[in-house]
Subunit: 341 residues, 6 copies
């Protein structure tokens, strides 16, 4: 049977000056629509997976444009709910070299942030699904979004749907009076797959990462095991390794633990960087695709994730507009960027 | 002595698709910063008037860009207060012919809307001023903005500063539980100059415009006199006459009453229309300039206002980037648009 | 039950210099995707009609982009067949005033032109449909396209689906050795609705329009009756009236005959013209919408068609990106193009 | 034998904000190269006439770009001389409606202005020519340019080459201490064809236009005869009639006198105006083409001139990028701007 | 005597999304005109060589624009023949880092592909020439193009004109039922200079590259000698060395054999890459220039070729818009990219 | 007391093709305004220093735009004098890799070059200042500019204002008959801070750099001491170290001598390079800021200078639009260019 994935989260309008201009130099903003969970949905649609994106959008021209962009990329939009006042925005100034990119969030009071618990009939939305994906951004934007996220998770769990989570910690969010450790432990207990570094995981779970048996990388499993103990449904945990040499030069690798073994992927140099926003989401989508299509091949899932993450850096916009064939080519070792003609 | 004008209101970021594209066709937005009262300030600066714009802006890159744009045009920005979370936005889709322009407001919870009464030390701000301008937009955005506007007005009145008001009714605002008639009568009682059509004026004052002595245009003074009675400090009332033949063709005239006589300006055809947003503000600024510089020549003030309004339609953006010489040329009857070389 | 419309035809890539530049001045081409029948599909999707577009596209990046654009606008794309070598192109240089627009066709050997009879399983494609739309362009591009069009028409007729046809005569096509009168009479005999002027209709049917009883406009029905006699399934015939005052000024009206009465719509001035390509398709879509939703109100169907045609002139691109509300506003007499805010 | 035309003058870089932006709104300038006499050359090349443009350009990247643009349009560039320091510039702000276009000249000390008498070997340059064209701009830019212009004129006259002149009065030029009447009478005495209104002609000749026998338009020939007396080689005098309704609406006609009869062309409405710069040069080129190819048909020459002038208003840039077929179409009465497809 | 070069081949329209956008993100295409042999012509014109480009272009606006672009760059266009239906197109998506560029060809049935044997009067075209250049693309596009290419080669050979060939193997071409080894051996037997790697050369000649005496790089001459034996007129064979580290980083060197000695050029790093299309043509043009101007200095010819190839990577478009001075600077060892001011 | 800086120099219009296009490929120029001394002023304003820029601008639209750009960035413009004919221009073609950038100057006869001695009332201009900055460009553009520069320097010296100088040698200037050694010694004797490499310093002072005691880097102080002897008011001398690996890769360090000790900053890699113009001015401004705010910490001043210089390479335009926080981050060792969100 065709696997059907549902991703749930906020869709934002991104406004960015052209090229490497600073905000004060801009006379126009390039616009794209994106968000952690919609980026995962677009990636999966590109890989041929049947996927629906669930969110709440304002019933105005801007909300409709956001939906149309998802539809253009083959993501199902029929389960989107309409209401609220505004589409959240983030302004992005793209850096270069030693000058980092800047993000100005303007997403408070968005339609997604003002969603109420119970707005979405999750039983119905998830009825044909085999996979549900959410990220740590949704519980960070408002208390009611966190509540609705929990509703979704519980429904998915009841329906025995696989649940994946990208921890996605954003320090500028979590402004509504709760901290991650107040909210995330309950949500994460249902997760079967978690993406995120261990520091973030333990921080969100309100735990101390220090472990008596940890000495060096070889004893990494003891840390992961501690994570698995906190998240009883956890099957796979993965981390993007990212070393930032500069805004234009990143190094990308990955680690995956399946409860038994550690899998690693070689660190790849990524330079130049066209756009690094959404590279974590690209990793997540590669991982999901691999776990769906190659159930017993964790190494391949990790390789897909890392390749997707690397290629995302060459794509403008939030979403990773690459094909499976392009992932395979890079996994196969061809990073030559040569032209076929 | 050099006249010093203070205008007070909200500054917005305008995001508009290029040319006549619909929102769903846009891959970028042209950006300008504007707002009714800042537009008046820019116009006055263009005419050589010393002018400061007072508002509240968020202390982030976007707020700074908004301020820099005012400063670029020679408007004083030292009295701007910094705080709050966001710069308000309006999305503009420019129409053509029978297709009108569309505006999507996203200005709730802006730094200006969340201003608190007493944020600004009006005594200090107004100490060198001889003129204070506000519009009906500020009391429409939030209760606290309305309160701070009243503080400003009272301080100006106490300091015997001339107060001008553009009624600027926006039906999509006034969302905070009050209607114009709850708020505006108190504010308008201090106004010395009011711009707005009589319907709007009576609506805002909560009065019925029907008057027993009104029969036709010749008895227009009886309506204005009723307005003057409601606004004890009123000296001059003016109205923009606007007939919209289509998004690309407007007809613009004006009426002014000084408590004794009606002055009118011939209706001018304006076609094509490059951008009609801010044309009322252009009228207001022309009027203020005229009333400052030609105290006893109401006809000239009206002519300046109408010429400014007409020329604004040829300028992209909210602000009327024209010179006094250009106003004079049009008042002098030269609408030929010919090149001098 | 929800009406389901199928439109069938070629989708082209349009390449146009920016603004009013001539080809020799262009350093880039703006690109849109369009075509008579896909334009009808996009319009209907905008009006909330369930609609699928059927065509044949090359399985390369350009073909995929064309499909994605349809999908973005909510047109069903699942019935598109993939094959062939290329997407047809037309180059468009937009005129102004007395300088007309220029079209350079480069559509020979497109995937649609090389479609073979039997490529599409029409029984299956049309199974849920209640309306089938085709135009005179498809039989003009190649003999095999004409054959496949006939297959579609016959299948639709058998399934008792309403068939609408836009005559769409293009003198630069019909290059494969057949003339309209060799091909069109057989195809048109199944049409229930025909859009096109009478000269074109009689020309395509290989008939002489001269009629002994025709004297002036009042005897127009005698001509239409002759058309109805040639097309035994015809129920409604309509014509766009178009007077071209210049590339920037058109006058648009319409005539409709339902076998009994002549309906007319007032001629409207359309100026300026942003883009007149696709205005006939906009008329067609308005007509179809009206005939579907207001079965007994031919005047309303005509009004919708004319309003849609007028508004298309204000929209860049082939497709008429307007809403039903905008049609209603214009039908209601509001051509003022005013802003609501 | 193929007619060979030589035009002589200055080539300028035009820098213009996009669309209708004011200078202070521009973040980029669109660039074109143009000038009265080069515009005539490009027009003639478009009409299939063999034509060389003679000027002096700086030997730097900017000068080379200017030359390449001429070459692109098929104008001979082998006779251009290289030297001097800079290419002259003019900044153009395009107006709309009642706001006229603005020109800022920055052309002093250009390579053409600093040309020395004798720089060009006119005998050689003109050896294959049958027509020489110059305009009143060249003697206006510097004394040495005026001298070199006279050299050219004398050489052409000696070689019995037809000489045409566009009076092209520019009040912002003539800054070098001489006035037109000091310089132009000597130059104009060799002209066989003069384009310009009579006021300008008499002003440049230092004569009073008032004539005892002139009463109304019917006695126009008496004025022209006076002009002919001052210019002993004059055969044809023509004038563009231009009424400026606004920057976006011009009315264009023409008058021609051949020493015997007055010919006139109907005034045509030109709206909207894409770019009116160079429309006089377009008129001139149409006239030259007509006088070369239809020696005895003055009316046709005038019609070509007026049609070319009208169409220029629809073309961006200085040069009139239209074809003979387009002129013929407009002369034939088709101003419908319709698309052929 | 001035050397006169003729290059013969197809001219294509290149359509490319802006910057690094993927096809599905493009709302416009940047356009340039190019092709292997026209690129060589433009390079030679830049270096001051008299050069004509011969091709067949459609007589429509697009064909004319292609010609104008050649003319702009100083390439002779008088020998171009006009006819056929269309200009071939290639769509280019520019890659970055590990994501390679993509090319979609749409060049079937172009005016050049449908050229007939005998269309061009080669005796006449070549009469003043001293050098004729063709590439392996022309015989790859259609059988008749291959035939006309052979006609040209034979005529050149008879006229004792030097013949150079770039092997330019394109696997996506050769679609007309012949393979390189069916066609190329006859054509290559007249070549005096061949550019291409040995694998391609032997493949096209239908030979096995394996040679009993070849062991390592030192015995490279034995392979070249085998090539010389297959091509009896061969004097010089050269190869571009290219190592693709990624789409943004190339390494470029070269090898040349003159029948006696191997010449090599140091491999240079080229990063970043602005546009690598046409870098082989740039190498070819540098080689031709060197062989024409420095007959006995093969090392210099190779150095010029490699320098030109490197610099091409910094230029947008197909053609290598650099000067001889820039080549010399790089050959001289200055790759610092410093500004002179 | 707030330190007040005055910088004095020429403001130029920069015209540059988009991205990496060559001049001959440009259809538009991006425009910025800049110049060595205005760049210093903008930097200082960004760092919160009160600063005025003094220059002479033409009273036309272009001059006004230049002033508005300074005002936008918070630089005081009230002391600018208006007059003269033109704003100087420089055309910039941005290089990449081994292809260097090209500059074409067109700045002769600018309003600044034609300034007369005594135009500016320096006593008044400098009355509130504590720092005066000039560079070697001003005395290079014309004799009268050199004279006025001397007037300024003398006035500053009399007022005991700190004087800083960037040697800024431009070989393409100095065209008015004087060489640096004729002019600079007198000007430099008043300088308290000099930025420039020692070769340039000695060249400008007309001295031989060879020194008997100089052996290697360790004896660098002997050279600096010689410089200090020639410039009796000198307190601090600094040099930017710049190694150009290519147009896209620079290495930046710095050296400072305070009469006692040598301070050095580590050489940093800067790649890619967005725009290197103005990086020396950025260094200068960082130095000035450091010397003003950290009087006794020469190492910190140098670090600020080097960090500012590095970051400038990531900013498009002449001026270094970075904040103090960004300088601090880089000085603190964070060159990761990571995003905070």
């Amino acid at each position: 049977m065709m696997k059907k994935v549902i991703t749930f989260g906020e869709l934002l309008l991104r406004l960015a000056p052209k090229e490497y201009l600073r905000f004060s130099q801009a006379s126009s903003f390039d616009l794209v629509y994106g968000g952690g969970e919609s980026n995962v949905a677009v990636s999966l649609a590109n890989y041929g997976v049947s996927v629906d994106f669930v969110t709440r959008l304002p019933k105005n021209y801007i909300g409709e444009c956001a939906m149309m962009e998802m539809r253009k990329h083959g993501v199902g939009v029929d389960k989107i709910v309409w209401g609220g006042e505004r589409l959240g925005i983030y302004y992005l100034e793209v850096g270069s070299g030693a000058r980092g990119s800047n993000v100005v969030y303007d997403r408070a009071n968005s339609s997604m942030a003002t969603i109420k618990r119970g707005t979405i009939n999750w039983k119905e939305v998830l009825q044909d699904a085999t996979w549900f994906h959410w990220s740590g951004i949704t519980p960070a934007i408002s208390e009611s979004a966190a509540q609705e996220c929990l509703e979704a998770i519980k429904a998915a769990h009841e329906l025995r749907i696989t649940i994946s989570t990208d921890l996605n910690y954003r320090s500028k969010l979590w402004q509504y009076g709760k901290t991650p450790k107040d909210i995330m432990p309950e949500l994460l207990q249902y997760s079967n797959i978690i993406l995120g570094d261990l520091d973030t995981a333990f921080f969100m779970l309100g735990k101390n990462k220090v472990h008596p048996d940890y000495q060096d990388e070889k004893s990494l499993p003891v840390l992961y095991d501690a994570l698995f103990q906190s998240c009883p449904n956890l099957i796979t945990a993965a981390t993007t390794l990212r070393y930032s040499i500069g805004a234009s030069h990143q190094q990308i690798g990955g680690v995956l633990y399946d409860g038994k073994s550690i899998f690693t992927a070689d660190v790849k140099n990524v330079t130049p960087v066209v756009d690094r926003v959404g590279s974590g989401d690209a990793f997540m989508a590669g991982l999901i695709y691999g776990l769906i299509h190659n159930v017993d091949d964790q190494q391949r899932a990790l390789n897909l994730a890392v390749a997707a993450c690397c290629l995302k850096h060459t794509i403008k916009g939030d979403a990773n507009l690459v094909t499976l064939e392009e992932l395979e080519k890079l996994i196969g070792g061809d990073a030559s960027g040569s032209i076929v003609r």
